[in-house]
Amino acid sequence: MKIRLKFVKQGQVKFVGHLDIMRLFQRAIKVAQIPIAYSQGFNPHSLVYFAMPLSVGVSSTGEYMDIVTTIDVRPETIKEQLNKVLVEGIEMIDAFCIAEDTGSLMSLVSAASYEIHLPKATFIHTSSAAMTDKLEEESLVVHKKGKKGIQVVDIKPMILACTLEENSDDIVINLKAQAGSSQNLSPQLFLKAILNEEDGTDKWVNITRKELYVYDQASYVPLECYRRIV
């Protein structure tokens, strides 16, 4: 039976990397005594799958994980069992069955939304007005370091929605952008494109990934609403 879980990763646990979190889940699932299925072969491993890696230091309120169980279990029970075992900062917030033929998380993700907080105290050269101007231009070109050396990319087409707000401490950016294996705009690259260069790119920015989306019937649907079996 295939179960999809949604969870949050907040607080200092956001500094634990993706691979380490994967190992944590593999172990937590065993500790919680969930009847997890194993792969065949010489080195059997538990059938646990993740969506898109979250970079170290980024929080999330919309992470996903698929597991396969050997027997039928109530998704709600799995969620509760895991929450009893899991560490502070990681919490399962939803669990549901999905059809056996639902694509892998990795292949489904095509967009993600982020909330980015820029502390005004440290980003003294950046203003929301200047950023809004940049966002309104036809193209938004940025140099990206990749495997094939430095590339010039226009990130404008990858931005699906973007709004700016200000409160007393921060400039708050809400960004929805393409994500996943074909087109991917990371919030870090986005910032590089719209921040004032004088503010540099190594200052601390508070980023939260809010949700992951699948492209279905000409619109972006949150993963939690996609092919859910009730």
């Binding site: 500094f15 380490d20 937590a28 065993k30 005594q33 194993y38 170290v56 560490v87």
Partner: protein, 615 residues
């Protein structure tokens, strides 16, 4: 300030920030109350190293089983974090609650290897705690140290308030109870330390002193308090099946060196290799029963979700009933999809067979430690294994599908000649021939033999404690000799750095004056000395000059049996008489049977249980 603010901004600037945050699966969270005793368990190395250490896992949960104690972990911050801490005036803190060390009742260090000592000083300094005991105030925590290297406490004596000699499960409860009483009484720290003079297994260095002859040797070990005992006796667990063992292990955030369940099969070793400190100081052998071990295994796998279990011991093959135990463990592990790892096996038919069973895929290499290249030298060190046994074991391994074998040897052992060094190459060559004698169809292609040598370091409480260490020049010559004696390209040779070993020898057999060397080295910027890339020999040489320490006096000088040794006031169980007898037998090239074959009256048999009373 009692807690630090570990900001996102700082964490985002360091490598592997998960080293510093705490909150792992099975780590301990407690509400802090006013009368709670706070213990900072410090491992003077980086997180991944410390988290692999079984002793820390045991004591952490042992302390925390008490409601009135909260034990938290502290590791040495890596250089990048240290820099940021200094920049932000952030003192060293615990992982569990991010409390600064000054706020603890006890700051405890585990002494696992000598080359971690500068890290201890660094951690105290980062914690804003004065390094020398006499400079600390009534408000500063008590600094306590234990672990194998505490058997010669003198090189750290001026920095430490209390040394714990022996196994942690025995006396800590007494110490905690006495501390509670003392805290309520409002008496001074010195009065507390005086009280501890009655407690078995505790050494309070401020009540002891050393005087020296003109030639630098020790003239007298003095006690400075009427209650200070002449000899401090190691404490040991009598009933190993009954002793506390944690049902959980903290699962580290990032991949540790060893990331698995560890089962402690027994303490001690029956073998009595003459260079091996662990084999002497952990005597006598006490093995856990099969039933107890399987219980532990079940519970620990349940509570950690680990996919690997390792059997920890000095010599796994010596477990009685290993056949039955391993079979039951294997069936338990198969159900749970868990791998078994088996370090410290002897090379024999049974072991190879066992390895074959637990490792379905022969990916990893096999490791054997003959320690010396010739029979003569193996007899000198009492490594009771013959060439025939080694070759046989290797043949079985090759036939069993392994093609990679690692061999460990030591250079610079007492009585070693050129022939013995060449003997290592000869033995490796013979092993290679064994491989080529096997039918091509029956063996895995591509033989890879790795010969590794370490430099012998004479250690306290071994029969070789009086023996000189080789000089750096001699070690280098031997490295070259061995390198040139190995002709076959399938045999790779690598060796340890001789200079680190010299310092290890200086500190391991150091007296109280060596504390100045460690202090100066630290002040010159030495930390993480056990990490090759951080080790700076020139800085240590400079420190030696500043502290007036002559490396040769401690490393390459032979001691007489009548010389007072820096650790003579510690009673580790085996007697000096026994060690002398063993050293004489080494000179005569005579071996000693293991404890199961015949008791050699080493002096530890004061226990009612264990191998000593079996025959």
């Amino acid at each position: 300030m009692t807690k630090i603010n570990l900001s996102d901004s700082i964490l985002s600037q360091v490598d592997k920030p998960a080293r510093y945050i705490g909150g792992e699966l099975n780590s301990c969270k407690k509400g802090i109350t006013q009368d709670m005793m706070r213990f900072a368990f410090c491992f003077p190395d980086v997180y991944e190293v410390g988290m692999s250490h079984l002793g820390m896992q045991i004591l952490y949960h042992f302390f925390n089983r008490r409601e009135d104690v909260y034990c938290e972990r502290v590791f040495a911050p890596w250089a990048d974090m240290e820099k940021l801490m200094k920049l932000n005036h952030m003192p060293l803190f615990s992982l569990e609650t991010h409390t600064i060390l000054k706020n603890f009742d006890f700051v405890g260090f585990t002494l696992q290897y000598e080359m971690s000592y500068t890290n201890i000083l660094n951690m105290l300094e980062l914690a804003d705690i004065p390094l020398y005991s006499e400079e600390r105030s009534e408000e500063d925590p008590l600094i306590i140290a234990g672990g194998p290297c505490a058997c010669n406490p003198e090189p750290l004596a001026p920095f430490i308030d209390i040394f714990y000699i022996g196994e942690g499960e025995v006396t800590y409860d007494v110490l905690f109870d006495k501390y509670k009483e003392w805290k309520a009484s409002g008496k001074t720290k010195r009065e507390f330390l005086e009280q501890l003079l009655d407690v078995e297994g505790l050494y309070i260095p401020c009540f002891y002193a050393e005087t020296y002859h003109e030639d630098g040797t020790i003239k007298e070990k003095q006690t400075l308090h009427p209650k200070a005992k002449d000899k401090i006796k190691k404490v040991i667990v009598k009933d190993i099946d009954q002793v506390f063992y944690p049902e959980v292990q903290i699962v580290p955030w990032i991949q540790a060196i060893h990331d698995r369940v560890t089962l402690e099969m027994f303490r001690g070793c029956i073998r009595g290799c003459r260079f091996c400190q662990a084999g002497m100081i952990y005597r006598p052998v006490r093995q856990k029963s099969k039933e107890v071990l399987l219980q532990h295994a079940k519970k620990l796998l349940r509570s950690t979700g680990y996919e690997e279990i390792s059997l920890a011991s000095l010599s796994t093959s010596d477990y009685e009933d290993l056949q039955c135990f391993s079979e039951e463990l294997m069936s338990l592990c198969q159900e749970e999809f868990v791998n078994i790892s088996l370090p410290s096996l002897r090379v024999d038919a049974f072991s190879v067979d066992l390895m074959k069973k637990v490792q379905e895929v022969r990916k990893s290499s096999l490791t054997f430690a003959p320690e010396a290249g010739t029979q003569k030298l193996r007899d000198v060190i009492n490594k009771n294994i013959t060439e025939e046994e080694i070759l046989n074991g290797c043949r079985l391994a090759f036939e069993g599908g392994w093609n990679r074998v690692k061999l460990y040897f030591m250079l610079g052992l007492p009585n070693e000649t050129e022939e013995d060094v060449k003997g290592i190459a000869a033995l490796a060559e013979k092993i290679a021939l064994v491989y080529y004698q096997i039918d091509k169809e029956k063996r895995q292609g591509g033989l890879q033999l790795v010969v590794s040598t370490s430099c012998f370091v004479p250690k306290p409480f071994t029969p070789f404690q009086w023996e000189p260490q080789d000089s750096v020049a001699s070690f280098m010559e031997k490295h070259n000799l061995l390198k040139n004696s190995i002709k076959r390209k399938q045999i790779k040779y690598n060796h340890h750095d001789a200079k680190t070993s010299i310092l290890e020898a200086v500190i391991a057999r150091g007296d109280r004056r060596v504390s100045a060397l460690i202090y100066r080295a630290f002040k010159n910027g030495c930390t993480f000395d056990s990490w090759g890339e951080h080790f700076r020999y020139e800085k240590w040489e400079q420190a030696a000059e500043e502290a007036g320490i002559d490396f040769d006096f401690y490393a390459t000088r032979a001691r007489g049996y009548d010389e007072i040794l820096p650790w003579d006031h510690i009673d580790i169980g085996v007697t000096k008489k026994f060690l002398m007898k063993e050293n004489e037998k080494a000179k005569d090239i005579v071996t000693t049977p293991n404890c199961r074959e015949k008791c050699s009256a080493c002096g530890i048999s004061r226990l009612e249980k264990g191998v000593c009373n079996e025959n």
